[in-house]
Amino acid sequence: MPGRSSCRYVTSRWLAACVSLISASSIAGEQPIRVVDQNGNPVVGAAVFIPQADDDASSGAFIAQRGQEFQPRYSLIRVGAEIAFPNQDKLRHHVYSFSPAKTFELELYHGDQATPVVFDRPGIVTLGCNVHDWMIAWVYVVTGRRLGITDRNGTVAVDSDAVPDSVAVWHPHAVSPTGLGDADPGSHIVLVMRDDVILPARPATKTRRQRRSVRRE
């Protein structure tokens, strides 16, 4: 019965399990920082940075919309940086954010019509598309030296000489999303993750009906 359908939420635990099968490879000369959750599973998409360090001057980033998904899903930028939202699909997107760090709305646009958005306050900004509910992306707006975003193995490659004493590890699904982590190279940074995160899921069919599945990042 179509009317009876309701949101189906799937916890992301099984995805994490898949990820853990892929063993982390460390690059020579680089010291990886590995972030795991309380169960020892790698945390994907966590922002790792050194808050007290100097900010590098990188500016400009973009989050494309391709295949009705944000690309990339996680972005790590310094406070005051600018992100452009190029629409590479043939349909319009309506990108918005209700996050306190940056609230904005880019109403229905094509291509590069949207003006870049300046993220002038630190914090995690969640991006969505009003037209496509399943589209989601996060922008970490930080001050300090950005080390990177954890990959599938939950690792971020760091120069071995630049290993700091302490790093900050942010993740929107952590119990404390903008907390600090111990920067102890060679060991794991444990991030306590929420287990009740519900994310919009992309419908299996291309109907306008909304079907949601839950996916763990």
Binding site: G3, S5, Y9, C129, M135, W138, P172, I198, Q210
Partner: protein
């Protein structure tokens, strides 16, 4: 009787209606009830289906609604930016759109940030587990208790696109729902839930609270008054929808049918009873008719009854019954005639005559009853034969019938007839009696043989001589007895005759008792030898003093005893008393002989000799001490028998005396041949005959005759000295009489003998001197 048959018929007819009727009634009622129950069940099932459908569709509506809401960009923005007023207005708007009863917005921590229910605003959501479960893919459809009401809830996350809160929408499970269900399915609906620690089920909503309470009260699925079905509505809170149908409502049609059928059935039974009664009456009518006819016959009514109108078997039966009735009537008439009439002569029989006398006597002012006896009838019968006798009787009956002016004529005995007629005067009756006598006196000629019947007529008059047939007959019999002895052959009863007979009857009755109870006594009259003037023998004479009638003369009671067949016991009693006395005297040294009288009947007794011998031996008395006096007449009755007995007695040594000699009609030849040794001259020759020359000559002849026959002579009734002397001169042997002594009591005899014998002698001598002088 006819009732019984009628009842059976009635029972059968009514049964033919009642039993199938009952079967049909039961079948219809059972089926209808089943139908009603099935209908009720089906309604309940419908109700359950409707309920589940409704709940499910509400659940779907909720889900759609919540999805619509959380998809709304504006709403998401409002939640994300925490615009309370916007959220509240949107909630109100949305809830009005889908008529939700409850809408909540929760933050991720489960805190209610907005609510359509004021009481829940800014509160912690009371069911955090529900959120958790929802996050883990829990049930979409739950029922929860919020603010004292049950709500069917759906909860959904608000994603922007990351989750920023929860939206909860609910429909109240309330009276509206119950009412809707009830109106859709036609059953009473209640929602109950188990809440709280105690696990007690409570009613939240009920379209019929009483019914729901009744269900909760006994908890049974099928209470008596309600058909109940339950369905689980929510899983989280244990909500049960209780669907109920009132039994009386469901069965109302059934009940109505029940009453209608009962009424129809009742009427049909009543009607069938009426019809059956009419039918059975009709069927049994000829039977009743026959019963009445039989009843008439039974009661002796032999008249022809009413005609039967039908021509069927019953009519045939009725005709047969008529024939039977005629037969019975004839037989009964014959029987009655036989019972009331003499068969031979056709006259009334004795019983009937007596009955009629008793019946008619009060009506007849004066009546004469003539008892007629043909005194020679027995003789005619025995000499000319019974057939001749019967012919005589018929001839007599004919003559009597012809004699005019009789009320009734009856044959009252073998040769007895009785005639009842009015009696004006005694003379007239007497003349009539004479005419009857004369009529009957005419010899009867039957086939040339003439017979004289020698009629005698006893006459009684009613009411002069009695009022009852039995009394009259008895008295007529007495008169008849007199008439037989009468030359005129006619006698009228005289008052008092009956009493003599009664006295005789009384004496006869009492004598038996007197003998048995020793009321009799024996007196002894001394006999004196005329030459020695001594007393050596006595005559035993029986005496009886009747307790009521006083002293009764021996002549009287002995005669009665002879007639009543009591003479043998009487004789035996006297024999025994006298012989015992003889033995007593012997013991006292008194040597006497005793003379005892024997009756003619005693001589006919074969055992008299044996009895005598036994008594003699028993008391040890010599036979020579006993003289047996037999009257002359007794010897004549049956001379041969008498001679045999007397010879036997004589041979045994007893003395035999002929008593009362001179009164009988014995021939001298008989006298000579008798084995007697003594002759007692009857006192009629002696008493007061002193100066009768003829009598003295007769005495002389008798005495010399006796002496010539070697018989000693005893003279009785010697009361005067002159007679004594006369007898002495006539050479009489023994004297007995008042001159010497009256009969004495036994105890006086010894004294008399001892004292008076010499005195007697002297006395006689002295008087003799006087006589000589005179």
């Amino acid at each position: 009787m006819n009732n019984s048959f009628q009842k059976k018929l009635l029972t059968l007819l009514v049964g033919l209606v009642v039993i199938p009727g009952l079967v049909i009634l039961v079948a219809v009622l059972t089926t209808t009830r089943h139908q009603a129950m099935a209908t009720a069940e089906s309604r309940m099932q419908t109700g359950e289906r409707v309920l589940l459908q409704l709940v499910s569709s509400r659940s779907g509506m909720l889900a759609d609604s919540v999805n619509t809401l959380v998809s709304d960009f504006g709403f998401r923005r409002a939640v994300a930016t925490g615009e309370r007023e916007t959220i509240d207005s949107m909630l109100l708007n949305h809830s009005a759109r889908i008529r939700a009863d409850l809408m909540l917005v929760l933050d991720l921590q489960g805190h209610v940030t907005s609510s359509t229910l004021a009481s829940l605003a800014d509160q912690e959501f009371p069911y955090p587990r529900l959120i958790t479960r929802n996050a883990q893919g829990g049930q979409p459809n739950v029922v929860k208790l919020l603010d004292g009401k049950l709500y069917q809830l759906v909860i959904a996350p608000v994603l922007a696109p990351q989750q920023i809160g929860w939206v909860c929408i609910g429909f109240a499970i309330d009276g509206a729902l119950a009412g809707e269900l009830s109106s859709l399915s036609g059953v009473e609906v209640a929602f109950t839930a188990t809440i709280g620690e105690d696990g007690l089920r409570e009613i939240f909503v009920a379209t019929d609270l009483a019914a729901a309470k009744a269900y909760l009260g006994n908890g049974e699925r099928l209470s008596r008054d309600w058909l109940t079905r339950t369905a689980s509505v929510g899983s989280d809170v244990d909500v049960l929808a209780v669907m109920q149908l009132p039994m009386d409502k469901m069965l109302a049609a059934y009940r109505q049918l029940q009453w209608q059928l009962a009424a129809i059935f009742g009427f049909s039974i009543f009607g069938s009873i009426l019809v059956s009664i009419a039918l059975s009456r009709r069927i049994t009518r000829p039977l009743r008719f026959l019963m009445r006819a039989v009843g008439r016959i039974q009661s002796g009514d032999y008249s022809r009854g009413p005609l039967m109108d039908s021509k069927d078997e019953f009519h045939k039966l009725y005709e047969t019954l008529g024939d039977m009735r005629e037969g019975i009537r004839e037989r009964e008439a014959r029987i009655i005639r036989q019972a009331t009439h003499d068969r031979l002569t056709g006259l009334l029989n004795r019983d009937e005559l007596m009955k009629r006398i008793d019946l008619f006597l009060p009506k007849l002012s004066d009546a004469a009853i003539l008892c007629i006896r043909l005194t020679r009838f027995r003789e005619i019968n025995s000499t000319l034969g019974r057939e001749y006798g019967d012919a005589v009787l018929r001839a007599i009956a004919k003559r009597l019938n012809q004699s005019a002016s009789s009320h009734f004529v009856g044959r009252t005995g073998s040769g007895d007839f009785t005639l009842v007629r009015p009696s004006k005067t005694v003379e007239e009756t007497a003349a009539f009696a004479v005419s009857v006598r004369d009529t009957l006196m005419v010899p009867i000629d039957i086939d040339g043989v003439k017979a004289e019947t020698a009629p005698a007529i006893g006459v009684v008059l009613a009411p002069e001589h009695g009022n009852h047939s039995s009394e009259l007959f008895r008295r007529a019999e007495i008169a008849l007895g007199n008439a037989v002895a009468n030359v005129q052959r006619i006698a009228l009863y005289r008052n008092g005759q009956d009493e003599e007979q009664r006295r005789r009857l009384a004496i006869a009755n009492d004598l038996r008792q007197a003998i048995a109870e020793d009321q009799l006594t024996v007196h002894y009259q001394p006999k004196v030898d005329m030459r020695t003037r001594t007393c050596s023998s006595v005559e035993a004479l029986v005496r009886w003093t009747h307790p009521r009638l006083g002293r009764i003369r021996p002549d009287e009671f002995i005669t009665i005893a002879e007639n009543a067949g009591l003479i043998r016991p009487l004789t035996r009693w006297v024999l025994k008393a006298a012989i015992r006395q003889l033995a007593d005297w012997k013991k006292e040294g008194l040597d006497l002989t005793v003379a005892i009288n024997l009756s003619a009947m005693d001589l006919a007794d074969d055992q008299i000799v044996e009895t005598l011998e036994k008594l003699r031996k028993r008391f040890d008395v010599g036979a020579n001490q006993i003289t047996l006096e037999v009257t002359e007449s007794a010897v004549i009755v049956d001379t041969e028998q008498a001679r045999t007995v007397l010879s036997h007695l004589k041979s045994l040594g007893f003395t035999v005396a002929i008593d009362d000699f001179g009164t009988g009609q014995s021939s001298l030849a008989q006298l000579g041949s008798l084995p007697a040794s003594q002759l007692k001259i009857d006192k009629s020759f002696v008493l007061a005959r002193e100066n009768d020359a003829d009598a003295i000559n007769l005495l002389r002849s008798i005495i010399s005759l006796a002496h010539s026959l070697n018989l000693s002579v005893v003279a009785e009734g010697v009361e005067t000295l002159s007679m004594w002397n006369t007898l002495f001169e006539l050479d009489c042997d023994v004297a007995q009489g008042y001159l010497l002594s009256r009969p004495l009591k036994a105890e006086l005899v010894a004294d008399w003998v001892a004292c008076n014998s010499p005195v007697l002698t002297a006395d006689l001598e002295r008087t003799g001197v006087y006589m000589d002088v005179g």
